[in-house]
Amino acid sequence: MSTELNELQQKTQRDYRSNSLFWVTLRSIVRQRSAIIGGSILIFLVLVAIFAPVIAPYDPEEVLIGKEDIRKRESPCIHLLGCPEDQPQHILGVDGNVRDVFSRVIFGTRVSLFIGFSTVGFAIIVGTLLGAIGGYVGGWVDNLIMRVMDVLLAFPSLLLAIAIVTVLGRGLQNALLAIAIVSIPRYARVIRGSVLSIKEQEFVSASRALGGGNLHILFRRILPNAIPPLIVQGTLGIGAAILEAAALSFLGLGAQPPTPEWGTMLGSERNQVFTAPHLVFYPGLAIMITVLAFNLLGDGLRDAIDPRLKE
């Protein structure tokens, strides 16, 4: 009798655990094909970034003048595809300063992923705080915060980022800061919306009735429930941030040479698009794949998490 009861208890516990929000969500994510594809590419990119020194045959900043018998902007040479064995192998060719493009593209993954995660991380933290405070406190505080956010949103984001970088000075760090600042309003709005609806729910009133303080209610009760839409927004935002950073670098405002950044690589060789197309094609392709990965993952996550899209 008691063993049966025990088993029943364990089963219920198992059911409870496997039916928790996390596991339900994970299961519905796995059912989304685009999320799977995006996620796989992303894992691949992360591995490439981690093992860049192992994969890349050259130091990305190493100038090969005098070290190898090779001309600048040489086309790709792959031994397997018939390139003579006595020529040094450069899978994606060499650039205008005689550096191995393949190594630079590989190391560029590190820079781009770092840009994506750090800017969005910063924007989410600041945006969440602002949105949560605004939504929870309400009144003039809410009005003030959200009007400032409206002003930020009123500018085309790239233009605003260019303005910020111009004031702060060129360089990757300032570009990151600029991109982070312009993407704050997006997260602030998402969080505020969620907080507004959640704070009216009964479990919040219950928590308050039990004597929970404002901070406790906001950070322990409301925010954890407001996170799912933020994850979707954040994933999509990383793609957008990488794109914006590449655009800034292309314009010469972001990463400075000799940093192997895809946008910088594109920008410095843009005039060679007809004479040495490989120099703009591969960095461009790398940007496309990375942004596509985040967009696919973001779309998949939204389909899986957003309750409005559930049947």
Binding site: E61, V63, I65, R170, Q256, P257, P258, S268
Partner: protein, 554 residues
């Protein structure tokens, strides 16, 4: 009542406007009187009150119909070289007066050149016809056409397809394609330019001579030129290119010597290198066709050779020029210079004079011989002084001269007499296309054809075919007499007397004389001249080459 008020108001307005009109009528009549005078506009002289205005020209006077005298405030040994600049071309005094120095003259210049303007089809082409009464040898081709395209690839395509005969700047990558094509030939543009790596000696650690010398010896300039400049570019042995008479006197620049450089840096206390910045602007220039690539290359060399960590900093062009020439950049900067006229003063005096702060504190050992040399007419007599100055430049290393770069034009191989002088533009009258029409394609459309008030090479190239000055550049870039038989100076080079050619006809049939010279110069250099109108009104070359315009207000 109301109607009355309205009528009253109308009447007041009417009377008021009549009164206003009457007041303005008096000055309005004047131009007609002037117009009567204008038909015989023959200015005898233009002059400044005194030399106090700071410029070089005191007066330009017509002594008789075919003699002009230039009185200068300061001696100018480069006088003839400057005179050959097409900005100082001569147009009929009557025509200048008729157009008022603006308007029609911007589009329809009347000169004495081997070609006269037929039509300027805006946005498409300029057509010239051979001038049959030309005083010299007449032009080879009957018709000359100027076209333009900003893309070098497009220019080359037109050349390959045979629609044009001669094109300007082709890119380094395209040179090979042209060389491989038996129908085409590369026409190199000789290099009166210099690209240098400058250090401002008022900032640490560049205040230390050993550091500057270490960088001078520690940069492999040959590697830079070989990898980043078109074939035919030369590693600079001196600041001034050797193609300029008297340009490369004195010792050649340091050879690349890594050990000596590292030793010098260690002696200066920087054996572990230091941190600095490399400043440049991302603007195409003949002397720096790929600024970004060269900056990164120098960054790499400084790191590898001398362990100096340099950050590459791109600056906005205007700001970069302001800051660098003002001596306010705390690092290394990449700048250059393209010659305006073939004389060492144009290179050395501009950069190393006592007044120029771009390298920080000035060096008396450099500027003193230069000042002395600038008083001597014939560069041949000043060679010793230029050698002294160049040796002092090498000894003090305020900058490192890197390269005299070359650019390349391309033409059909069948053209005869193709030329590309280092100063001025290709001389079209000498080119025989083997057919009636010669078609030239340049980078852009001219802004106007009144080049006294233009600075861009495209306008000057188009003007040069129609207009001539007292002197002109030959195919080697040396100044030779054109409308003047000869200009001679007094002993201290302050009075130049020009003996003019007789019997020269303008394209409108009128005769060339000394008053046309005075009128043309007056319109440019005299700010109070009634015909000082021009296109922009800036008259930049008049102001720059003669140290300012005379009779300016204030």
């Amino acid at each position: 009542m109301k109607k009355k008020t309205i009528y009253l108001l109308l009447a007041v307005l009417l009377i008021g406007s009549l009164a206003l009109g009457a007041c303005q009528q008096a000055p309005a009549e004047e131009p007609t009187e002037e117009a009567a005078e204008e038909e015989v506009y023959q200015p005898v002289s233009v002059e400044a009150d005194s030399c106090d205005y700071g410029g070089k020209v005191l007066s330009v006077e017509a002594l008789d119909d075919y003699t002009v005298e230039f009185n200068l405030c300061k001696p100018d040994p480069a006088f003839l070289a400057k005179m050959a600049f097409n900005v100082f071309a001569i147009q009929p005094s009557e025509y200048i007066a008729e157009t008022g120095g603006g308007g029609k003259i911007l589009e329809q210049p009347i000169g004495t050149g081997a070609y006269q303007l037929e039509a300027w089809n805006r946005g498409d082409s300029i057509v010239y016809k051979r001038f049959d009464d030309y005083w010299g040898e007449s032009a080879e081709a009957e018709t000359l056409v100027f076209r333009w395209s900003t893309e070098s690839a497009a220019r080359l395509l037109e050349l390959q397809s045979g629609t044009v005969d001669y094109v300007t700047n082709i890119t380094e990558e395209d040179i090979e394609a042209v060389e491989d094509d038996p129908e085409l030939e590369v026409v190199p543009l000789p290099a009166p330019n210099i690209m240098y790596v400058a250090m401002t000696n008022t900032f640490e650690p560049f205040d230390n001579l050993d550091v500057r010398k270490a960088i001078a010896m520690g940069l492999d300039r040959e590697r830079i030129v070989e990898n980043f400049y078109p074939a035919g570019s030369e590693v600079a042995s001196h600041f001034t290119p050797c193609s300029i008479p008297g340009g490369c006197e004195g010792e050649s620049w340091y050879d690349f010597d890594l050990e000596a450089a590292q030793q010098l840096l260690a002696d200066a206390g920087y054996e572990d290198g230091f941190e600095t910045a490399i400043y440049y602007r991302d603007v195409y220039r003949d002397y720096l066709p790929r600024p970004g690539d060269v900056a990164v290359e120098i960054q790499t060399q400084l790191k590898e050779n001398l362990n100096i960590d340099a950050e590459v900093v791109v600056m906005e062009s205007g700001e970069f020029i302001d800051e660098s020439t003002g001596g306010r950049l705390d690092g290394i900067y990449l700048l250059g210079w393209t010659g305006d006229y073939p004389h060492p003063t144009n290179f050395l005096d501009f950069h190393f004079s006592e007044q120029n702060p771009q390298f920080g504190d000035v060096f008396p050992s450099i500027y003193e011989p230069l000042e002395e040399a600038s008083q001597i007419e014939d560069p041949a007599d000043a060679l010793g002084l230029y050698a002294e100055a160049n040796n002092a430049i090498k000894e003090n290393a305020p900058m490192v001269p890197i390269v005299h770069s070359t650019a390349a034009y391309a033409a059909k191989a069948s053209l005869e007499g193709v030329n590309n002088p280092p100063f001025g533009s290709p001389i079209m009258r000498l080119i025989d296309p083997g057919k009636d029409t010669l078609v030239f394609m340049q980078n852009a459309e001219p802004i106007s054809l009144y080049c006294a008030d233009e600075t861009d090479g495209e306008s000057l190239a188009a003007c040069q075919q129609v207009l001539e000055g007292l002197y002109r550049y030959n195919t080697e870039g040396r100044a030779e007499p054109a409308l003047a038989k000869e200009c001679t100076a007094n002993d201290d080079l302050t009075v130049w007397t020009c003996d003019l050619q007789e019997g020269v006809k303008f394209h409108d049939g009128s005769d060339f004389d000394a008053y046309d010279v005075v009128a043309s110069f007056g319109a440019g250099i005299d700010a109070s001249n009634p015909y000082h109108e021009g296109n922009t009104g800036a008259w930049e070359y008049y102001s720059y080459l003669w140290d300012g315009l005379m009779n300016t207000e204030e």
